[in-house]
């Protein structure tokens, strides 16, 4: 939908109704009942999506009813929120069944995530948590009657953990169990599109085998790895999902469903229930899985090595954890990037191409786990623009790398994917608000933004870049059906609401990541797991030809045209990304 400036039919009328409500000091929340739940949302801003959420909720629940023979113990509340710039969700079952949805667009960074329509996906996933934690055997129902319901744990009263266990024992299972089965089932429900078949997950375990990294035990995973590794709690999803995949493959999907179902006669404790279903201790099955995974990944590595792999030269001496988009200052031969590594506060770093040393320029308030920050670079002024508060409403910051002076340009602007365009001294970005992506321009002196084009709900634009002449925008677009494409549009046309691309390449359900213009504007360089492994691709605008430039054993990401056929890339390792140089000819 086009958003011309000052599009204000009904505008002030709406504003009046919108803003008048808090004055009356009453909640702006509205509720819509479905057969088994209540969707609670902000009226009138979220009204457009509430019926769709209700339908997605009932669809997901119908699937779980059939698979688990599950009947909710109470009406499930689904709360819509827009308190962050990236979509997410959470489910809780004690003391009440509550699903909270963050309606912002999902992040597809590094293809850590793939999905089709996001409300369907989020509800498919979260309702697995409700089913596996809320479902009660006769003993649990007895205690629920005794305690007048399920008991939530209260920090001041540690004994409440015991009461919770008696009323909802599977809620006390470890995170890898809860998330593993949720990812396994959301992928099943989406017909195979999801992290259980995700290439990022494959890369993580393939890299561990290549690096000779240890596989953690269930206890080590929960107590150490999720606190010390750069992927933090995401490790619960990674390990849990691979283990569930293995069980379904080695035994049967039906046995997996039996294990996670709390039925009359089943063991309350998840590990005891495992032994009951599979006839062996959980730790033994975990060890079997690790042996299987190593062998499986060795086969994958051998397949990759059937073709010559791309040699690389590492720039930094160690892996740097998560890295944002990077920019090269050719004058000083310095690579600027957001860096996020456990045990340190995320920061804007200056990586020397000469010796690989990393200088810490500025801490970043609230970095994101995988992408750290959104970064842009004005080489003339020597200014880095970056986003702070990345887990809430993002602020736009400016950092002068010569003086190390910093200032906030826009607070809570909710703008990311920022790109500096020297043509017109303008910052472009994509704003997330109320579940919708909007292309915005921020003219000098960067104190105000203007909306240019809003994509309809369900279309997620990300990884923006602007051509050197400032005429074209390249971005990736995810659609409701899960299809992803690389698009190039004329900015003037987009401002008039014309989305017809001047170039487009469909990647199916693979994510086209971080495509950037070459200096002469002829090519776009980016990465994709199109072939199953993340490699660097070059797209020629004039011919529409896509060429693979690398063959990586782990994965290459975020290419920057460097020198002749050389590219700066981020190479994935078990400890995070390493900035490297590759020679990349088609």
């Amino acid at each position: 939908m086009a958003c011309p400036r000052g599009r204000t039919p009904a505008a002030l009328v709406f504003c009046a109704s919108l803003l008048a409500i808090p004055a009356a000091a009453r909640a702006q929340l509205a509720a819509a009942d479905t057969a088994d739940g209540t969707v609670v949302y902000l009226d009138p801003t979220q009204t457009f999506i509430a019926p769709h959420v209700g339908r997605s909720f009932e669809n997901a629940l119908a699937f779980h009813r059939r698979l688990f023979a599950y009947t909710p113990s109470e009406k499930i509340t689904v709360l819509l929120t827009d308190f962050a710039d990236f979509g997410n969700a959470a489910a809780e079952t004690v003391p009440r069944d509550l699903v909270t949805l963050k309606i912002a667009p999902l992040s597809f960074a590094y293809e850590t995530f793939t999905a089709s329509e996001r409300m369907s996906y989020l509800l498919n996933h979260e309702l697995v948590h409700v089913v596996t934690s809320d479902r009660a055997a006769s003993r649990d129902r007895l205690f629920r009657r005794l305690f007048s319901g399920k008991v939530g744990p209260v920090p001041d009263h540690p004994e409440s953990i015991l009461y919770m266990y008696l009323t909802a024992p599977r809620r006390a299972a470890p995170r890898w169990y809860l998330e593993g089965i949720a990812v396994f089932l959301d992928t099943w429900m989406a017909g195979g599109l999801g992290r259980a078949q995700g290439p990022y997950d494959e890369m993580v375990f393939r890299s561990m085998v290549l690096d000779g990294s240890p596989f953690y035990s269930p206890l080590g995973l929960s107590s150490e790895l999720t606190k010390t590794d750069f992927r933090l709690e995401a490790n619960s999803y990674l390990y849990g999902t691979r283990f569930m995949n293995y069980l379904a493959y080695r035994y049967t999907p039906e046995s997996l469903i039996r294990w996670v179902s709390r039925t009359d006669g089943s063991k309350a404790y998840y590990a005891s229930a495992f032994r009951d279903v599979y006839g062996l201790p959980l730790d033994q099955a975990w060890t079997d899985w690790i042996a299987f995974e190593r062998s499986f990944q060795q086969t994958n590595i051998a397949t990759i090595r059937q073709h010559p792999t791309t040699p690389y030269t590492d720039i930094s001496r160690q892996a740097l954890g998560s890295l944002s988009r990077a920019f090269l200052d050719r004058r000083t031969r310095t690579l600027y990037a957001g860096v996020n590594y456990p045990g340190t506060v995320g920061y804007i770093g200056a990586i020397s191409l000469a010796d690989g040393s990393v200088a810490r320029l500025r801490d970043i308030k609230e970095p994101r786990m995988y992408t750290v920050t959104s970064l842009a670079w004005d080489p003339e002024a020597g200014t880095l623009f970056y986003t702070a508060d990345n887990t809430a409403y993002r602020d736009l910051m400016a950092l002068d790398v010569r003086t190390n002076r910093e200032q906030m340009l826009l607070e809570n602007a909710r703008i990311g994917d920022i790109v500096y365009s020297a043509a017109g001294k303008t910052i472009w970005g994509i704003r997330a608000f109320n579940g919708i992506c909007t292309l915005v321009r921020i003219p000098f002196p960067y104190r105000d933004w203007q909306s240019v084009y809003s994509w309809p709900y369900g279309e997620t634009a990300y990884d923006l870049d602007i051509s050197p002449d400032g005429q074209l925008a390249a971005f990736s677009l995810g659609e409701i059906n899960g299809r992803q494409s690389l698009r190039v549009v004329r900015l003037s046309a987009l401002a008039a609401g014309d989305t017809t691309p001047v170039a487009r390449f469909d990647f199916g359900t693979a994510i086209p990541s971080n495509f950037v213009f070459s200096g002469d504007g002829r090519y776009l360089y980016g990465s994709s797991y199109y072939t199953g492994v993340s490699n660097i691709f070059r797209y020629e605008l004039a011919t529409g030809a896509l060429e693979a430039l690398t063959n990586s054993e782990t994965g290459f990401f975020r290419p920057i045209p460097y020198d002749g056929d050389s590219l700066l890339v981020f190479r994935y390792t078990g400890a995070g990304f390493v900035p490297s140089i590759v020679h990349a000819a088609p």
Partner: protein, 214 residues
């Protein structure tokens, strides 16, 4: 004999293609050159489609995404003005709502000066007057507010003071004033420093009212 066998063979192959197209459809022609690089093969069933997702009020969403809305929502004075009883009474009038929907008014509302003027206490008071509401709904006002000179005048200290006067409010509501607003010369006059000074004088409103009404 051989030719007949070949003919039957060709017919059989053609029939096979036709049956396959009927059941599985004609292979789609897609953007890109996906045939040249082998995409990873994973099992995937058909996904939810765009037509499966029904959402409402896209017009409202389009406005919510605009910088105009953001400016209004983040401006404390504007928020106060918009939540005032007087404003809500005014926007309940269909004529005022229609006026607000015109492009000229919409564009003007994006101006910081106009927003400040509208959020002033004196404007809020003036809004309560039926005559002023009618003036705002008039086509003359819509024309006038599109001019930068008029916007400047609206934002001036003198105009804000003038709005507090009942005489000026009556003047605003008059037919003659509305006619005058349509004139470019009048809009420029409003923005002139001489007019601003005149507005600041107590006796001006009575005279202006009489002059316009004549």
């Amino acid at each position: 004999m051989m030719a007949r066998k070949v003919l039957w063979g060709v017919i059989a192959v053609a029939a096979g293609f036709i049956v396959s197209f009927v059941f599985f459809g004609v292979p789609p022609v897609e953007f890109g050159t996906s045939g040249t690089i082998g995409a990873a093969k994973r099992y995937q069933a058909e996904q939810i489609s765009k037509s499966d997702v029904k959402t409402g009020d896209t017009e409202l969403q389009a406005f919510l995404q605009s910088d105009t809305f953001q400016k209004i929502a983040s401006d404390k004075a504007a928020r106060t003005a918009l939540t005032s009883k007087e404003f809500r009474t005014a926007v309940a009038d269909p004529a005022v709502r229609a006026a607000l929907a015109t492009p000229a008014v919409a564009q003007a509302l994006a101006s910081q000066a106009v927003m400040q003027a509208l959020s002033s206490a004196s404007f809020q008071q003036a809004m309560a007057q039926q005559g002023v509401q009618a003036a705002l709904a008039s086509s003359a006002f819509q024309q006038a507010i599109a001019s930068s000179a008029f916007q400047q005048a609206l934002a001036s200290q003198a105009f804000q003071q003038a709005l507090a006067s009942s005489a000026f409010q009556q003047a605003l509501a008059s037919q003659a004033f509305q006619q005058a607003m349509a004139s470019q010369a009048f809009q420029q006059a409003l923005a002139s420093s001489a007019f601003q000074q005149a507005l600041a004088s107590q006796g001006f409103f009575m005279q202006a009212d009489q002059a316009i009404a004549r």
